[in-house]
């Protein structure tokens, strides 16, 4: 059991270091990809809106938005899964993987709608680095799966 846990940790650290090395930290580092799209869903990047398409790369600061009939699922490079129901808006505020400096961050902001979050490696290795912000609260996680509903302004 203990050996299994150690193994899992070593693997997690390995994967994490890998992600850190594979990409130089730059503003256009790919931090994940769109995986599932339904109905009207878009990615807003520095005020430019494009229809979301599966396989589309994601960058820090990207905004995920879904319309009335929309749904959207993304997988980040640390294996975090985020998925949005209709009429939802989520900002990928910050994503940082610099294990050699001990710097981690995964901050998302949900301003409206319904979202499922399934934690990845950042949450496993540096739980305090993960924050989910809503208009009313800040959520801190310990490796988990959770659902968030935010009424938002137009509800």
């Amino acid at each position: 059991m203990a050996a299994g846990w150690k193994f899992a940790n070593a693997l997690a650290i390995t994967l994490l270091l890998a992600s850190g090395n594979a990409f130089a930290q730059s503003s256009h580092e790919t931090i994940g990809f769109v995986k599932t799209v339904a109905g009207s869903s878009s990615i807003v990047r520095s005020a430019d809106r494009t229809s979301a398409a599966s396989g589309q790369p994601l960058y820090e600061k990207d905004v995920l938005e879904t319309g009335k009939d929309g749904a959207l699922g993304v997988t980040l490079k640390d294996n975090t899964l985020l998925s949005l129901g209709p009429n939802s808006r989520l900002v990928l505020e910050s994503y940082l993987l610099q294990p050699e400096q001990g710097s981690f961050s995964l901050i998302t902001k949900i301003s409206k709608g319904t979202v499922q979050y399934v934690s990845g490696l950042i949450a496993k290795l540096s739980p305090d680095a993960v924050k989910i912000k809503t208009p009313l609260a800040t959520l801190g996680v310990r490796g988990t799966r959770l659902l968030v509903k935010v009424a938002g302004n137009d509800d």
Binding site: F7, A10, L11, I13, T14, L15, L17, A18, S19, N21, A22, F23, F33, V34, K35, T36, A38, S54, G55, A71, L72, G73, V74, T75, K77, N79, L81, S83, L84, G85, P86, S88, G113, T114, V115, Q116, V118, S119, T134, P135, L136, A137, T138, L139, G140, V141, R142, G143, T144, R145, L146, L147, V148, K149, V150, A151
Partner: protein, 206 residues
């Protein structure tokens, strides 16, 4: 309009306003629900507002939020049918969880061991089963030989796998590869020790 109807209209308006306010206050804005992970483990989430903080730590534990000045509402067990009616689309949109394959190598070789080689079709099948896959490849060595030798060896191992995937028709744009030499062993060993479980390449299919 008579003075009386004006007064009546006013009082109706006030009543409506009161009702509307009451309705707003009784309709909680936000909802947070903790669910078990795919492996059944239940984590923990701490919900903090300016008014206070609460922690969810059991499956289907939930809390409601009304305003940022109020502490999160009392923790309750949410019914599955309510989770379903509120979150069905968000849950259905969840991408397939990533799958990790570990491929092993003989000492100082860039060719996979026979059992690992036999896994190859599974990797391709896993990639093909996904509509928009992306892949990470990470090469490693054990501590046989000097680190200065092992770093390029781990790179060569990663590159062999990368090449083979590309040759199999996988788009190189969706693959990244990196290497760690002997620095990230699965099993800790003294320097110079051979360890088959550390001579590996990890392939993560997302």
């Amino acid at each position: 309009m008579t003075k009386r109807t004006v007064q009546l209209t006013k009082s109706v308006a006030v009543m409506l306003l009161l009702l509307a306010t009451a309705a707003c206050e009784s309709t909680p804005r936000d909802l947070i629900v903790l669910l078990p992970e795919a492996d059944g483990k239940v984590g923990q989430v701490t919900v903090t507002t300016a008014g206070g903080s609460t922690t969810l730590s059991s499956a289907s534990a939930a809390t409601r939020l009304n305003s940022s000045n109020q502490a999160p509402g009392q923790v309750f067990q949410i019914k599955d049918e309510n989770v379903d009616s509120i979150f069905k689309s968000a849950i259905a949109a969840q991408p397939k969880p990533p799958t990790t394959f570990t491929l092993y190598f003989r000492t100082d070789r860039t060719r996979m061991t026979r059992p690992s080689n036999a896994l190859w079709p599974n990797i391709l099948a896993e990639i093909e089963s996904r509509t928009a896959p992306d892949i990470s490849i990470i090469g490693h060595t054990d501590r046989t030989g000097p680190e200065s030798y092992n770093e390029p060896l781990s790179r060569r191992r990663a590159r062999v796998i990368h090449k083979r995937l590309v040759k199999a028709g996988v788009d190189p744009d969706i693959i990244d590869y990196s290497w760690h030499g002997e620095k990230n062993p699965i099993i800790q060993t003294p320097d110079g020790a051979p360890e088959r479980r550390n001579r590996r390449v990890e392939v993560i299919v997302r």
